[in-house]
């Protein structure tokens, strides 16, 4: 018989922060709501792609690619929602859209799903949370993380390792044995599709995807690193959800891009709640979680304050 694990949700229900009826209502999913939102998402993508095309023969292509890249890297947020099966009521639609997002940002969907499960089980616990971003100790470490260079290095090493049919010790902890072969197959398939696209570009002589996809993603990824840091970095590395996660109050365009994942502490409390009801959950839980009212910038001020205090302590001042 399984031993019962007490989750933040169990606690929230037991402590009356949330009633069962409210939970039931907040968890409801909808294909219609998400298909409409996905339609707007595609329109935004078309708009930013058009901006790049219009700027093709001028220096303006660089800021245009940066803006387009910010949208492209936010496919991570949509994929993350799909990993939780909270975008669409129809489960296979989550798998399909999640896979497409994964191809855009080089993150195989199945692998991410398993990795993310352990992130939710062991949030902010050193050695157990596979997505833990270590708090930078120096400004150099902070800037290096934001450059996304370590991120891409890890992602390339990871996908080639899987394509070779290997998993490291950490990955073997969160991927069940019966899924090893599928993880290897996913990595090989993804690399094959990328290779095919490059061959296609070489054969046709049209290298547009480099400018419309690859360079924008590389330029946009530091923005995603900037956002990802705000979720947990600088918060205590403890199991208590009301302490280890930060909710950031951000403006509507950012909420749209990140599929409301700025309500991160609420998401960790109840991962079954879809993005479109997270603001309502925020109203229920806002007095019980850590809320950064100055948003992403406020979170980074907090992170930099931590670096400064560590530096001061190290210098013995």
């Amino acid at each position: 018989m399984s031993q019962q694990i007490v989750t933040p949700l169990t606690q929230a229900l037991a402590e009356g922060k949330l009633s069962r009826e409210e939970l039931k209502e907040l968890m409801q999913r909808s294909d219609a709501i998400s298909l409409r939102r996905l339609g707007v998402w595609v329109l935004v993508l078309i708009a930013t792609t058009t901006i790049v095309v219009l700027a093709w023969n001028s220096w303006l292509i660089w800021p245009a690619m940066f803006i387009h890249g910010i949208v492209l890297v936010h496919h991570f947020s949509l994929q993350h929602e799909c990993v939780h099966y909270t975008v669409f009521r129809t489960r296979w639609l989550n798998d399909l859209v999640g896979q497409i997002c994964g191809y855009i940002i080089m993150l195989p969907h199945r692998f991410f799903r398993y990795e993310h499960c352990d992130h939710h089980t062991y949030t902010q616990i050193h050695g157990d949370d596979p997505e833990l971003i270590p708090a930078p100790k120096t400004y150099g470490e902070y800037l290096l993380y934001l450059s996304a260079i370590p991120y891409w290095r890890n992602k390339f090493v990871e996908i080639f390792r899987h394509a070779r049919g290997q998993l490291n010790d950490v990955e073997r902890k969160f991927i069940p044995k019966e899924e090893y072969a599928s993880v290897y197959r996913d990595a090989r398939l993804m690399l094959s599709v990328y290779a095919l696209l490059f061959v296609g570009m070489a054969v046709t002589g049209w290298w547009g995807l480099i400018w419309l996809w690859i360079i924008p993603v590389i330029m946009g990824e530091p923005v995603m690193r900037f956002i990802r840091m705000t979720e947990h970095v600088g918060r205590p590395t403890v199991a208590q959800m009301h302490e280890n996660t930060r909710t950031n109050i951000v403006s509507m365009p950012w909420r749209f891009l990140c599929w409301n994942m700025n309500y991160h502490a609420e998401h960790h409390y109840v991962a079954s709640v879809p993005y479109h009801t997270l603001p309502k959950l925020h109203e229920k839980l806002k007095d019980h979680i850590h809320v950064e009212k100055y948003g992403y910038v406020g979170a980074h001020v907090d992170i930099i304050r931590h670096i400064r205090s560590q530096k001061t302590a190290a210098e013995g001042v």
């Binding site: 018989m1 399984s2 031993q3 019962q4 694990i5 989750t7 949700l9 169990t10 229900l13 939970l23 039931k24 968890m27 999913r29 990993v83 939780h84 099966y85 909270t86 009521r89 489960r91 199945r110 799903r113 398993y114 499960c117 939710h120 089980t121 069940p176 019966e178 899924e179 109840v270 991962a271 079954s272």
Partner: protein, 105 residues
């Protein structure tokens, strides 16, 4: 010789949460009772992947989803239908008799 299983009352049918999952403490066991379009089904309440109470999860039609990892099971036969659930969950033969939900146990 294995003890013969008999029908046992677990809760009055009017206490079932309509089209949802209801938690029932049955002796030392925690059960999840599902009101589905094709009838009432019962399983163990704790997810066999992470040990979390499935009764706090999202329920739709015949699929119960774990609230922690969104692994999913078909409540009719317990088979896993979504990762990270890989093993079938334990289910019980269930019926409604004289206003009571009963399981064979």
């Amino acid at each position: 010789m294995a003890r013969e299983k008999i029908w046992k009352d677990i809760l009055p049918v009017e206490k079932l949460e309509e089209k949802w999952v209801t938690r029932v403490d049955f002796g030392a066991r925690k059960l999840a009772v599902y009101d589905t379009p094709s009838g009432i089904y019962t399983s163990m309440a704790l997810c066999n992947h992470g040990g979390v109470d499935l009764c706090d999860g999202y329920f739709d039609g015949h699929v119960i989803e774990c609230p922690l990892h969104q692994g999913a099971f078909d409540v009719r036969d317990g088979r896993p239908v979504g990762a990270p659930a890989t093993r079938p969950m334990m289910t019980f033969q269930t019926r409604v008799h004289e206003g009571m939900v009963q399981i064979k146990a």
